[in-house]
Symmetry: C2
């Protein structure tokens, strides 16, 4: 009954590169932003991997993901220091040479004062042959695209600016619609009926997310679908289910994603 | 020169299961906590994957990870609703039957009032044959361990309580030592010398993390190693490098991870 079979969906994966994420030092701030940003463009984030600054591991992940999804985004490892090895790893993954990209060099030479540019900074222009720049209006050193892989900075402000720069290159599918409702009811008390509603509407993905707070507990139900008639019908049944459980549904726009 | 070759390190991977993470609705809060928690026990988180509520994808990820790392942790998908499919997927990954675990049923029957227990709640006792419970002092429904895979709740408060419950089952390696320092200097100005220091101390992992703030920019340098003499020697050279760049090192304990 799904009006858009999964094979028609435009999909994406995110590869987060960096020891600092795996050590716990840095909390990733790009995943949820990218997921939301893609969602509004009709592209579904379907997998995320986090790997260390290790060429073999990056190559392996890039090649596993770029064959499985329409678009791949990487974050991290494109600065001037020894631990910035993303560009080299991407070149290896694609089986192409790495070079000092002329357009990237021109951007860097324009940005830095005479004498400021050095070998380390020129390193930020190293890109696989065939790479197309992604503009970085924040700190200038560009990201790049090769094939279906977009190589972005990990710093959130730069990451987001680069997404805006590349937005025109993406072709999305139909946007995902969502409906969300909260209820102060135990998840286990509605689980059976909710499963029945899910069975009735296979084109709607129904998620159930319990929460425990100091003074209360309850559940947030999130419906996602492409077809507006189908999501509205399923949502009406969910609201009815909550009322039959003896509580009032909480329609909180802040829950809408 | 590394006193602990990578093959001796005790390693772990995290598999985050849930459409709500991939849609951007929920920001993961377990990764950095787990990374830090494992680090203090001498266990290195080396990979993270996020997959949707899809049995094939969970099975594939569990089997890829459990052969590659010493310990695997999963979060999410162990509640009473139709989208909680982690236990079934883990059973498939291990090629064993799934059953209502007697110990888990006893926990749930003890917790709920008579009449409150229903099929959906009994579902939370469904576990692969051979599973060993992980106590959940917060909301009672237990997690479980099978082989080297620890199956935990996604709700952060429950997740952390379960980690405390299973802590005794883990055997870590030597703890990772860290040193951290900030400097108001452009990353590109120190990159070359930093790379030389990294070459001199292959047993020390040196990470360089730039930041941009409204009034300033700079870099945080993080050193990680098992050998205390080696990390201290490398750190002394890093501090000297910063001073030679004409700025004062900022020793901020809040940066220590």
């Amino acid at each position: 009954m799904s009006s858009t079979p999964p094979t028609d969906a435009v999909t994406a994966a995110l590869l987060i590169i960096g020891d600092e994420i795996l050590s716990g030092r840095t909390q990733d701030a790009n995943l949820s932003y990218l997921a939301d940003w893609l969602g509004t463009r009709g592209i579904r984030l379907r997998e995320v991997r986090v790997v260390p600054d290790d060429q073999t591991r990056i190559v392996e992940a890039v090649n596993a993901l770029r064959g499985a999804y329409d678009y791949i985004f990487t974050t991290g490892g494109i600065g001037p220091t020894h631990d910035d090895i993303t560009a080299d790893a991407i070149a290896v993954a694609f089986g192409v040479e790495i070079e000092h990209n002329k357009d990237a060099l021109a951007v860097l030479e324009d940005h830095y004062q005479k004498g400021e540019i050095n070998d380390a900074r020129r390193r930020m222009a190293r890109m696989p042959v065939g790479a197309v720049l992604i503009d970085n209006p924040v700190s200038r050193a560009p990201g790049f695209q090769i094939g279906n892989v977009f190589v972005l900075a990990g710093i959130p402000r730069v990451n987001r600016a680069m997404l805006d720069s590349l937005s025109d290159r993406l072709v999305g599918g139909p946007p995902m619609l969502t409906r969300s409702v909260g209820a102060e009811v135990a998840e286990g008390a509605i689980a059976q009926r909710l499963g029945e509603i899910q069975q009735t509407y296979p084109g709607v993905s129904i998620g159930s997310y319990p929460y425990y707070q100091a003074e209360s507990y309850g559940v947030t139900l999130v419906l996602r679908a492409v077809d507006s008639a189908e999501i509205d019908a399923a949502f009406a049944e969910v609201l009815d289910m909550i009322k039959q459980a003896g509580v009032q549904p909480t329609l909180d726009p802040s829950n809408l994603v």
